[in-house]
């Protein structure tokens, strides 16, 4: 199967096999009008199988959420056909409407229209807390 290499854009590599569609949805890639390729079950030396997403002709995508979902993902930023940056995403400082606070005493439990905001309070242990009630929220990454 051939997927052309891209000139400008991102290659999101080392996605856990089978998780590319979830990432596609988290990143709202369905809203893009540029080319996006999802490669499922590609061969991987590290993990036997992996998924890859290639996003062409778009350099303005917020990929922060990837650090929360799976720190093993590799992001390749490509310009003029060359990788100009390759990195594992960091844990984002803030997550909005990604995880829901489940504390029954939290204001978000009765006011449905409030955005669920979680903030990174302990980077070392990847602890996120609800901005409103400060309860530790359960991570839902891969």
């Amino acid at each position: 199967m051939n997927i052309d290499s891209i000139e400008n854009g991102y290659v999101i590599d080392h996605i856990k096999a089978g998780k590319s569609f979830e990432i596609y949805n988290y990143l709202n890639l369905d809203k893009l009008d540029t080319s996006v390729a999802i490669i499922k079950n590609a061969r991987s030396n590290k993990a036997n199988k992996k998924d890859i997403i290639k996003i062409s002709d778009n350099m303005n995508i917020n990929l922060e959420i990837l650090g929360y979902l799976d720190k093993n993902i590799t992001i390749n930023k490509i310009e003029n056909g060359k990788i100009i940056e390759k990195y594992h995403p960091d844990l984002p400082e803030k997550l909005v409407n990604i995880i829901k606070c489940k504390n029954p005493r939290c204001i978000t439990s009765i006011e449905q229209e409030l955005p669920h905001i979680c903030e990174l309070t302990d980077k070392e242990n990847a602890v996120y807390r609800c901005k409103y009630c400060e309860e530790k929220v359960q991570r839902e990454g891969f």
Partner: protein, 304 residues
């Protein structure tokens, strides 16, 4: 715009400044009696409270200002299903400053995000109650004349007691503070207080279930009520509610200048016979609450 949602919102300098202003108000009440003339405070109390609400109202009246508000959800538009955000957007057009108490944690933060005027958290469930903490600090300063070099005993419900958690966090800022944490096993302080505050700041602390043993060491004894509303299970509440009752016998070995504090309301954890003891400071403490709230209102309104 400044709000007070969490005691952590205030730097130590800001806390110290509020204490200085509150002490000046105590000495020179007349000088402050017209400072808030023409200003209105809205007290939005979504759950019942006597002391806190009346304390804020008295504070505003003593500053020459006016008060509007409601004292329960049933007498407000909440009963029609209005959100905190909408209520606050409307009320911030009527008042110069808002005080909010709400049973849900984080409601005052939501209010501050939507308000055009300063918001003060007057308690959000078991979460934060910063003006109570300021009250304790003013009490300690006025009664002990220092906020450093103190051994503070905290007794009763250390698990659910929000005033306890805030007091530990606030006093942890000051030098040479030791804590003696007295509670039954089931009501010990949560692990995050132990790790994130006490151990992180290298604060000396002892955990015990024996009040008498540590009594002679204490400069301050902070008693708390085992609160029925924090328990999901009535049986647990009944089993633990009478764990510690302070009476004259227990005070026999206490220091002469011990300061006995309690956030009130008391049920039976301090015997009424202790009320006449010179070391009982809890009713004075409630009075100090009004003065620190006066200082806070002035500060948030930017009035010198």
């Amino acid at each position: 715009m400044k709000h007070l949602i969490d005691i952590k919102d205030l730097s130590t300098d800001e806390i110290n400044h509020l204490i200085v202003v509150a002490q000046d108000i105590i000495k020179n009440k007349e000088r402050y009696s017209k400072k808030c003339e023409g200003k209105k405070i809205a007290t939005l109390f979504y759950e019942p409270s006597t002391r806190t609400r009346l304390s804020f109202e008295a504070a505003m009246y003593e500053l020459g200002g006016n008060v509007l508000g409601f004292s329960s959800s049933s007498s407000s538009s909440v009963s029609k299903g209005e959100s905190v955000s909408d209520t606050v957007k409307v009320i911030s057009g009527y008042a110069d400053i808002i005080v909010i108490r709400h049973p849900k944690e984080g409601a005052p933060l939501v209010a501050s995000m939507k308000s055009d005027v300063p918001v003060i958290n007057a308690g959000d469930g078991g979460h934060n109650h910063p003006t109570q903490t300021l009250t304790e600090l003013l009490t300690i300063q006025c009664e002990k004349h220092r906020l450093t070099d103190l051994t503070i005993g905290i007794c009763g419900d250390l698990k659910f007691g929000r005033t306890v958690h805030s007091l530990i966090a606030a006093m942890a800022r000051y030098k040479n503070i030791k804590f003696v944490l007295i509670s039954p096993k089931e009501l010990e302080i949560p692990d995050y207080i132990r790790k994130d505050i006490l151990e992180k700041n290298n604060i000396e602390y002892y955990e015990t279930n024996n009040l008498e043993k540590f009594m002679p060491n204490l400069d301050i004894l902070y008693m708390t009520r085992v609160q029925r509303e924090r328990f999901f299970n009535e049986e647990d509440y009944i089993r633990l509610k009478d764990s510690y009752i302070l009476d004259k016998t227990k005070l026999e070995n206490a220091k002469d200048d011990l300061c006995i504090m309690h956030p009130l309301p008391r049920v039976n954890e301090i015997s009424v016979e202790v009320d006449d003891d010179e070391r009982a400071c809890y009713f004075k403490q409630a009075k100090y609450g009004k003065y620190i709230r006066m200082a806070l209102i002035l500060d948030l309104l930017g009035i010198k």
